[in-house]
């Protein structure tokens, strides 16, 4: 499969990338390219200009910022998966990154690419939601705005990033590790991904983060990555795991496809939530 022809420009800085975006209406940013290139090969995406931001090293850092860890938009899934900093403070994110696609895809795919692609079946948006992260978006004039993850994913493959803007980084609040007792060793988070082949997108996925500001997010339970608000509140209120699992499907609009009916997806979401809560150590 051969993409339609396009012009290619390499961005030398964030500002340069934004300027190029402003100059070309029909342009797209490319980083790892692992969402975009397959779509271009199938000619489902036919940008006339491709702006390569893959060399903007300042966007690939994973940094300790005190109360949160900032992950640059260009951080590859593999670096997220292996980051000691994330393993210590945001273990759920590192764990979820390790479940994406396959090793080759994780070597190239980027955090930001996955977020702005906004595939409801992708893993990382669930991490962003469950962890109550903040997205940092750069505007045409270089201004930065911060958007909570819960306001970021707007529709099917549509995010708060407008044309002319770019996602710069995602800020993940540091999580307090749960109290460990001799009787009970828990990590306080879990991700359950259900798919037919390991390489596939999730039929349903459930990300759970316990702690002072707990969150549950769902993969592929509608046309948009989904934050399970009612279940998360129930979690914060210390309600039973069974009650949380029951509430998790509230507000979802799961679709039917070859792998699942809507009922089955709801069932999976509840079952996987119960399992994730148990694995995370929620009593």
């Amino acid at each position: 499969m051969i993409p339609a022809a396009f012009d290619y420009v390499e961005a030398e800085s964030i500002q340069h990338a934004l300027a190029l975006l402003g100059q070309h209406d029909d342009s797209k940013l490319i980083a790892g390219g692992h969402s975009l290139v397959p779509m271009m090969k199938l000619r489902l995406a036919t940008p006339s200009v491709l702006i390569d931001i893959g060399r903007l090293d300042e966007l690939s850092r994973i940094e300790d910022r005190g109360d949160h860890v900032a992950v640059g938009a260009l951080a590859r899934h593999r670096s997220v998966e292996r980051s000691a900093l994330l393993a210590q403070h945001v273990g759920l994110l590192a764990h979820i990154a390790a479940q994406i696609g396959d090793p080759q895809v994780r070597n190239r795919g980027t955090m930001g690419g996955s977020m702005v692609h906004c595939d409801p079946a992708a893993d990382l948006p669930a991490a962003a939601l469950a962890l109550r992260s903040t997205m940092v978006i750069a505007g045409a004039n270089g201004e930065r705005r911060e958007v909570p993850a819960s306001d970021f994913f707007l529709g099917f493959m549509e995010t708060a990033v407008a044309h002319g803007e770019m996602l710069i980084e995602v800020r993940y609040p540091k999580q307090t590790p749960p109290q460990q007792t001799a009787a009970k060793q828990t990590v306080g988070w879990n991700y359950q991904k259900f798919c037919r082949r390991a390489m596939d997108y999730a039929i349903v996925g459930v990300a759970v983060q316990l702690g002072s500001d707990p969150g549950i997010a769902l993969v592929n339970m509608g046309s948009v990555p989904h934050f399970a608000a009612a279940a998360s509140s129930a979690l914060a209120a210390g309600e039973s795991a069974a009650r949380v699992a029951e509430l998790v499907v509230e507000g979802t609009e799961p679709l039917a496809d070859a792998n699942a009916t809507a009922d089955y997806r709801r069932h999976l979401a509840r079952t996987l939530t119960a399992r994730a809560l148990a694995a995370a150590g929620y009593a």
């Binding site: 499969m1 290619y8 692992h34 290139v37 390569d52 593999r78 070597n107």
Partner: protein, 171 residues
Amino acid sequence: MSKIEITLTVNGEQHTDEVEPRLLLVQYLRDVRRLTGSHIGCDTSNCGACTVILDGDAVKSCTVLAVQARGGEVTTVEGLIGPGEPFTPVQQGFHQEHGLQCGYCTPGMIMASTALLTENADPTDSEIRHALEGNLCRCTGYQTIVNSVRWAAEHPDGVVPDRAATNGAHQ
């Protein structure tokens, strides 16, 4: 659409070429460099037959534009050993354990396996299976591939201990 000049190091040799931006890395390797060991088996990054090592990482060269790889170092299956050199442990393992039949997925399997053993010298069978989850084989049913990678892990020098055990028939 204007062409772009790219410089790449492929299997240790540096090359500069003018390419269409839409040229995929696998097409660059096969059509421009005439290194046809990396194969194309799908359009959707599923099969892994095109796996090469780019700047130290296993990647699917069908999902990387050649221009994205500019300045990089690529190793393909052809670059694993020089003329007359013994097989790498992974290559030897695939031979010893019948890890290939038609051989079409094999270069990708070998590159992905090589990357695995670089990171994890002694993987379990389960780790091997998961490390190869992005590579499809239609011939072997994978068990002999797992055995092949296991063999390579157990023979890091790639030397076959007892040639007689293979009935004198080798290479």
